[in-house]
């Protein structure tokens, strides 16, 4: 089979994965980082879902006249992973809100600049 069209689902997975990963690394904006993280995770979801699909397979519901079923297990697994992903996103966004309140910005370079100027430096473990 042709290396591209036969494996196109994996190509999509890899491209999405690298895009997400790159966004996480390169973006300074915390919200954009979370979006990148989501794209990264979604690529894994697509990977699992396409892995369970069998050519010509039907939905895994017992019925007369159907011989080939897709594998439902990866789909179920990824439901769990989606829940985990939602929780992570929620927590990440909540932290971003708190960071915005504490620093007044959600740009990572600005936060770092604030930490590195001595005048604004908060003493260790202020109470």
């Amino acid at each position: 089979m042709d290396a591209f069209s036969g494996l196109f689902n994996y190509w999509i997975v890899v491209v999405l994965m690298m895009m997400g990963f790159y966004i996480v690394i390169s973006q300074q904006n915390l919200i954009k980082k979370i979006v990148g993280l989501n794209v990264f995770q979604v690529s894994v979801f697509v990977f699992y879902i396409s892995m369970g699909k069998i050519k010509g397979g039907s939905a895994p519901i017992l019925a007369d006249g159907i011989e080939i079923y897709s594998n439902p297990l990866p789909h179920v697994l990824i439901l769990t992973a989606i829940v985990v992903g939602v929780a992570t996103t929620a927590l990440g966004l909540a932290l971003t809100v708190r960071i915005k309140n504490a620093y007044g910005t959600i740009e990572e370079d600005e936060i770092e600049a604030m930490e590195n100027t001595p005048s604004n430096k908060t003493p260790e473990a202020t109470s």
């Binding site: 985990v84 260790e124 473990a125």
Partner: protein, 494 residues
Amino acid sequence: MIDGQLPILQVVLPLMMAPVTLILRNPRAAWMLTLVVTWATFTISLSLLMQVLDSGTIIYKIGGWAAPWGIEYVLDKVGAFVMVIVSGIGSIVLTYSRRSVEMEVPEDRIYLFYTMFLLCLTGLMGIVITGDVFNLFVFLEISSLSSYVLISLGKDRRALTAAFRYLIMGTIGATFYIIGVGLMYMMTGTLNMADLSALIPAVADTRTIQAALAFLTVGICLKLALFPLHLWLPNAYTYAPSVVTAFLASTATKVAVYVLIRIVFTVFGGVGVMEGLGVQHILMALALTAMFAASTIAIYQNNVKRLFAYSSVAQIGYIILGLSFVSESGVAAGIIHLFNHAIMKCAIFMGLGCVVLRIGGVTIKDMHGLGHRMPWTMGAIVLGGLSLIGIPMTVGFVSKWYLVRAALEKDMWFIAVLIVLSSLLAVIYVWRIVEAAYLKPVPENAAPVHEAPISMLLPLWVMALASIYFGLDATNTLSIALDAANALLHGGVL
């Protein structure tokens, strides 16, 4: 009857009690409940360890479903040992926690602290006990998500950015892990660890399985903060509340090391990936770099919590170095150092928690003359520090001794020399604290300081004395570690 259900109780008990603390809302009541739950899990862990030592691996089928289809919980010697470490540290830290949490966590969030603590414990227990690679991912995320929250509860605003960075890096690590699991599932159609280790040798030469191994290793190494992937750790440990640092430093990374052991020696046990694919050399090189680079960075830190955070990165290097020898004594040294490091870091960070309670900060400057003002607290910290160096009669010595022996067994005498040399770096950073605490005069305008309350000193000294006790009499811990290493290397199957 209840005996047979003990393995599942370890996960269910903290998981069910977490929402109860949420309903209680009263800080004191939440603390009491959490205390009871952690000591209960510790007791169960001890009885499970006895059971495993007596009659071998415990297998628990959830819902009675047979193994490759149902999820099974498997507790072998390594698992039982790590479980005792995690729950033991948890219960000591929790006994200590009340005063420290009252001071370092905003009052209206204290009950949430205990909820998150219980969830984190649930996750860590689940990772240790599960025999299913996907189930492990779920528990990994339960423990990670709750530890992000725990870290963000610190009063310093930098705790928030530290937690955010940990969240990003931790999620990348966990996602790498599921990519690896997915690739393994493609080739074998199973998620059960024992089943995987039986099926993988047949397909081991495929690119898919090799990619799976790469994703799994990198993902887990992010979680356990192996040297170049440790960037989340120093800030997270520095700005988290002291109790959280004491707990996470001695359990979270240790459990991640356990996951690495499980994947490399159990799931890939039949293939010998360590030798065959050169994983051994990569891990060894990174471990050695960690030992030197992180210790050197530690020397230049002015915040003592941060100093010990970097020292943790270095100590993780020792653990991984032990594993990378792939010999019985090497793996045993890794496992025993996992235990020993948990004890000494727990003691040190609890001691620093006492300092924060009384002084308000933990910079080297805050420590000036503290040896005379808080003699018990500083005594315990120094004991922990001596153990980090590896002075004879402390636990640190036992692990270094075995590491050096393992290196010599493999004729790698230069690594033995490096282990000793890197210990000298530990001498320098521990000395900086001793110097500040005992040789520097008390600052003139310093407010009078009381010793930490007995409710904090007692758990602190239990840990400090444990680091001496297990240094003097290491026969029990050693025999468990050697047995466990033996079981991992031969047979490999759970």
